[in-house]
Amino acid sequence: MKTNDMIIQFTAKIVFFIIFFFAIHIFLAGHYTPGGGFVGGLLASSAIVLLVLAFDIKTVRTVIPVNYTTLIGIGLLLALATAAFPMFKGDPFFTHYFDYFTLPLIGKTSLHTAMLFDTGVFLVVVGVTMTIIQTIGEDE
């Protein structure tokens, strides 16, 4: 039976942004405080799952046109590239570099290549979770 889902849809629209920005915050804060790529990826995918629950899979696929299997590939490639890059400079595999930069608006920040590796983890976690949920959800 089809009913009126206005309340949950409107709530999902607002709560999606809260969860998504919190996921990005957790992801960026991972170096100095608890958090990181894995938790951030799980939170981001749970935000998308909330949209899937409130609307349906087809609507969410048109709103977020991402092929999650490709996302897994991009994430793995990014992690591998970050790990393999020092070999071309003559350093051991998985050597990380960091330096201090002065960015506009933010000021002095330390940028670390572990961040790129974490981005890879984030993308893989989002891709795997969403692939599992979409595959199970579409099974008719």
């Binding site: 039976m1 709530t11 709560v15 809260i18």
Partner: protein, 122 residues
Amino acid sequence: MTILANILIVFFISVGVLFIVVTAIGLIRFPDLYTRAHAASKSATLGVMCILIGVFLYFWLIEGHFNPRILLGVLFLFITGPVGGHIMSRSSYIAGIKPWKGTVKDDLGPEIERMKKEQGIK
């Protein structure tokens, strides 16, 4: 100043714990699902929000650490707690759970019947 802060923190946390105890008593004492959902979604949300505000004030006033994540948690609970109660009681009504026998007003029943007739179910 510290005494005032302590009084504020103790007040918020005790109010929160009190509301959660009231929720638990309501869950045991109330006769059917809808009154229990009313108790659980309202007072538990308020209780947890009060405890979170107490925690926020403790870290801000005593430890000197401003933590906006707790405020975000308060906002999140304020939005999602009642909506969760709404969705659960609505789905149990559609699944056919009868209200308490002393109920005098049932506006959702005729509306559900009308929806079923429009969509040709039964």
